[in-house]
């Protein structure tokens, strides 16, 4: 075995990929020009956030009145005239306006698209084509173009031509995730025994991630062949791809996966339990890990019990319930910090996974996430002090970064039209007069 001299791995890699040093390094995608035409689309804005974090020059092209998504966010708080969701995903983009409903607007778009690497849109399927600026037309003008279309049901297939407004909740439901998430049917007074959505816009984030993934795959293909292509993404299918064995189960013997609350079909213990200071998650489902858990709980009897002695018997629904009660009778006597301390002190063999269910405010109070660079407090010249979640990748050569939080509608119109089309202030004033920008 070869051994490393020099610093320990953790020290070396922190030095090499700490995002606090990102600005000193190059960017992975800084040769890309992206036109983001998407409106009212979480997947669209998330996709271009990812690209912009990784260095792409993203032109967010809004209608003169702005993307209606600028108003999105919690009902009890907006900031600087913007909804908070828009501020969260406005990062690094250049904001210009253009009216595609005007002929001159479409001509200007065409001029930009001729030199763009990527176009992203979220109009009703066929709308861009009807305007004469869909992929069919643009690919003749710019065969290298990668064109990403985001919609509720996609651009082909029996339901494609039926118009449907995409929204994250309906996409989560269509994905199949909602049906298998939540508490089973019950008579509880809260009426909580129904299919339940994820709180955040998960379908939009999945759709945005897949769109960015696919277009970067297409970019590699273009590098090899010089040819672009069209990519069709729906947020519902994006989330659907994460549904593990749900469909295979149905294929094998007609099973329809149902909701099981905080139990688990495949592994146990792997569940939420009450602790003295709230709720926590605990897991130890393989034999060595289950033995470790029983050791920590000082319950050597449990692994001997035939109901809990193997991976397969532990996942029988009745046994899951009984085992969960046993664990909870222990955990309810202790705080989450006490349990975590015991878990970390256990010498092994086996590993118990444990953590408290934390509120956003508690998450923000943990030093770990700040040290890792997961959050940053920006003092933005336009929007003032804002706390944002940061890019997810730590990369040694091309770390992602955030330059600015967001900008108002049309903020960069003058700069971008001058830079790419040579349109000066007088011409822009004319276009403004005509309602084009």
């Amino acid at each position: 075995m070869s051994s490393m001299s020099g610093p320990a791995w953790e020290d070396w890699i922190q030095q090499a990929d700490d995002p606090h040093g990102a600005f000193a390094k190059p960017e992975a995608l800084d040769d890309l020009l992206v036109l983001d035409m998407s409106q009212e689309s979480v997947a669209g804005m998330v996709c271009t956030s990812f690209l912009a974090e990784l260095g792409a020059e993203v032109l967010k092209v809004e209608p003169p009145g702005g993307d209606p998504a600028r108003a999105w966010g919690p009902p009890d708080c907006s900031h600087g005239g913007e909804g908070l969701a828009y501020l969260a995903e406005g990062r690094n983009k250049y904001y210009i306006t253009l009216n595609l409903e005007a002929t001159v607007g479409r001509e200007i778009f065409l001029r930009l698209a001729r030199r763009a690497d990527v176009v992203i849109e979220a109009y009703a399927p066929g709308q861009m084509d009807a305007w004469g600026i869909g992929y069919r037309q643009l690919s003749l003008e710019n065969p290298r173009l990668i064109y990403v279309a985001i919609s509720a049901n996609g651009h082909y297939g029996p339901r494609a031509s039926a118009p449907m407004r995409e929204h994250d909740l309906s996409s989560q439901a269509a994905s199949g995730l909602t049906f298998i998430t939540g508490e089973p049917d019950s008579d509880d007074p809260d009426r909580a025994g129904v299919p339940t959505k994820a709180g955040p816009w998960l379908a939009g984030y999945a759709g945005g991630a897949w769109a960015a993934f696919a277009l970067l795959g297409a970019l590699h293909h273009r590098q090899e062949t010089g040819r672009g292509q069209m990519i069709d993404v729906t947020p519902a299918e994006g989330l659907m791809r994460y549904l593990e064995y749900t469909l295979l189960w149905h294929h094998i013997d007609g099973k329809v996966r149902e909701r099981i609350g905080h139990y688990d079909l495949a592994v146990f213990p792997y569940t939420f339990i009450r602790v003295k200071d709230g709720w926590a998650f605990i897991a130890g489902y393989t034999d060595p890990n289950f033995h470790a858990l029983c050791r920590i709980m000082e319950r050597p009897d449990l692994p001997q019990d035939p109901r809990f002695s193997t991976v397969s018997t532990r996942v029988q629904p009745e046994n899951e319930r009984m085992l969960r009660e046993q664990i909870e009778s222990w955990s309810i006597q202790r705080t989450s910090d006490e349990i975590l301390e015991e878990v970390m002190a256990d010498p092994g063999p086996g590993v118990v996974v444990f953590g408290r269910v934390e509120s956003p405010a508690e998450v923000l109070s943990r030093e770990n996430w700040w040290e890792r660079g997961c959050f940053h407090k920006f003092s933005d010249p336009v929007y003032g002090d804002l706390t944002l979640q940061m890019p997810v990748w730590r990369m040694t050569e091309t770390p992602p970064r955030i330059r600015w939080v967001c900008r108002p509608t049309g903020y960069h119109t003058g700069y971008i039209y001058q830079k790419y089309l040579g349109l000066g202030p007088r011409r822009l004033a004319e276009l403004r007069e005509q309602g084009v920008i």
């Binding site: 070869s2 320990a8 791995w9 020290d11 090499a16 990929d17 995608l29 990784l54 969701a85 996609g154 082909y156 929204h167 909740l169 309906s170 269509a174 199949g176 995730l177 909602t178 939540g182 508490e183 809260d190 909580a192 339940t196 709180g199 955040p200 991630a209 897949w210 993934f213 696919a214 795959g217 293909h221 062949t225 069209m230 069709d232 659907m240 791809r241 994460y242 549904l243 064995y245 149905h250 905080h262 495949a266 939420f272 998650f281 397969s312 629904p317 444990f354 953590g355 269910v357 509120s359 956003p360 405010a361 923000l364 996430w369 890792r372 997961c374 997810v392 990748w393 990369m395 091309t398």
Partner: protein, 443 residues
């Protein structure tokens, strides 16, 4: 353009022609050294775009997911949960605890473009001498991906993680589900699959940089951090107000009305947040009176306490009288959003998802006909695809080690006798289906 748009897209994306078309990541080799879901899914996503994925497992037992069987039920001697993150891979079994095994990994890494692992931080370097710092000496073009719960460094680096733990500590759990109820566990391992998706995205960004410069790099994604990233306005809100985002059940707080309602044949998700969509909904319900009701004039009015609940009741009474399909038809006609809360059966029987390959049927030489959810993004010129299903432990040893590393049959035999490489143990999980006739082995 005489051809209609949808005739043209039907041709452009024709499911029947997928295998006639090239693959975006042809020629990219991925060495998948990972376990369970987070790592294997990252490799799987690259594989569906055409990367050649070599999946390394321990001889005899293989990955633990082979025995993580939902309700303890196996299918053809393996857990049905093993397949979703292991398509079209070449399965080799190498014992990385042995120096000879480590030497084989180094040889494979020298010929690979991407390496994916999800062990605890530093394990490959400290225990086996095949970490990033060793492998980049052999192959400076290598893109080395390390997936973990909490990252390669930082105060939580020593903590172990699973998907639902990531949901808990990221705050994702606290902002999902109904107020006052126990924590809601997502029905799937979302931190794994979404984290893997971001990891694969990062690889392709690194690949683009390598295409331009020839330089590889190290890249890490942490499961907990992937979920933090996906929580939209939660953090901006907490930062500005000092308040926690509340749990709102099935209502999207930024769109009112929105929720999940019962129909005659199942559940329906419905959203009509904008004024225009709300107008459409009222028309569809035949309730023009609601439009002039001062409680419901604007989205802000509708979202007020009591108002939202009153609207929910109207909508629920209305949906009760119809099927999900009828409600979806009305949503299309009147410009609001609706979808059936789809079940596995709904997907299985949906001709739309079948035509799009989102419900993917294939015939595997070992496991026969399989139906799974297919690749998500649809690429016109380089469509994503599954070629075959996961295979028993060590299934492709001869193909990979012989073809790729040039080992002769007697060398393979010697390595197998020493226990450096191996095949499946004769037990459920690692082994092939009963009565398997040798079909699918690559000579």
């Amino acid at each position: 353009m005489s051809e209609s748009y949808f005739d043209w897209t039907a041709r452009l994306f024709d499911r029947a022609r997928i295998f006639e078309k090239p693959e975006a990541l042809r020629g990219i080799r991925v060495l998948d050294m990972s376990l369970i879901i987070f790592g294997p899914a990252t490799a799987d996503y690259l594989g569906e775009l055409g990367a050649e994925v070599i999946r390394v497992e321990m001889p005899r037992t293989g990955d633990v997911m082979r025995i993580v069987a939902p309700q303890g039920i196996y299918w053809k001697n393996v857990s049905p949960a093993f397949f979703a993150q292991n398509h079209s891979k070449y399965h080799v079994a190498i014992d990385v605890h042995r120096p000879e095994g480590q030497a084989l990994i180094k040889q494979l890494a020298a010929k690979s473009d991407v390496l994916i692992e999800n062990f605890r931080a530093g394990t490959l370097e400290r225990k086996w001498g095949i970490g990033y710092r060793q492998l980049r000496e052999i192959n400076p073009r290598l893109i080395y991906v390390a997936n973990t719960g909490f990252g390669q460094w930082g105060p939580f680096v020593k903590r172990a993680s699973y998907d639902a733990l990531a949901q808990a500590v990221s705050g994702f759990t606290a902002v999902s589900g109904f107020p006052g109820r126990p924590p809601l566990k997502m029905g799937i391992y979302i931190g794994d699959y979404f984290g893997a998706c971001l990891s694969a995205l990062g690889v392709l960004a690194a690949l683009h940089y390598r295409d331009r410069t020839g330089r590889g790099q190290f890249l890490e994604v942490a499961q907990c951090e992937a979920l933090l990233r996906a929580m939209d306005w939660t953090w901006v809100y907490a930062g500005l107000t000092g308040k926690n985002r509340p749990r709102t059940g099935n209502r999207d707080p930024s769109a009112c009305p929105s929720g999940i309602y019962a129909c005659q044949d199942g559940f329906l998700a419905l959203v009509a947040g904008s004024d225009k969509a709300f107008e459409g909904l009222c028309r569809a319900m035949g309730r023009g009176d609601l439009l002039t009701d001062p409680r419901f004039c604007t989205q802000a009015d509708r979202a007020k306490e009591g108002h939202a609940e009153a609207l929910d009741q109207c909508i629920g009474e209305w949906t009760q009288k119809m099927t999900r399909a009828e409600a979806v038809g009305l949503a299309q006609a009147h410009g609001f959003s609706a979808s059936a809360v789809a079940t596995a059966r709904d997907h299985y029987e949906d001709p739309h998802l079948r035509a799009r390959g989102s419900v993917w049927e294939m015939e595997d030489p070992v496991y026969g006909t399989m139906v799974e959810h297919g690749p998500a993004p649809k690429l016109s010129d380089t469509p994503a695809r599954y070629k075959w299903a996961a295979k028993p432990v060590g299934f492709h040893n001869e193909y990979v080690l012989g073809r790729l590393l040039g080992l002769r049959p007697e060398q393979l035999k010697a390595l197998e006798q020493q226990g450096v490489i191996g095949k499946w143990a004769d037990r459920r999980g690692p082994k092939p289906p009963d009565g398997w006739d040798g079909e699918g082995i690559i000579g």
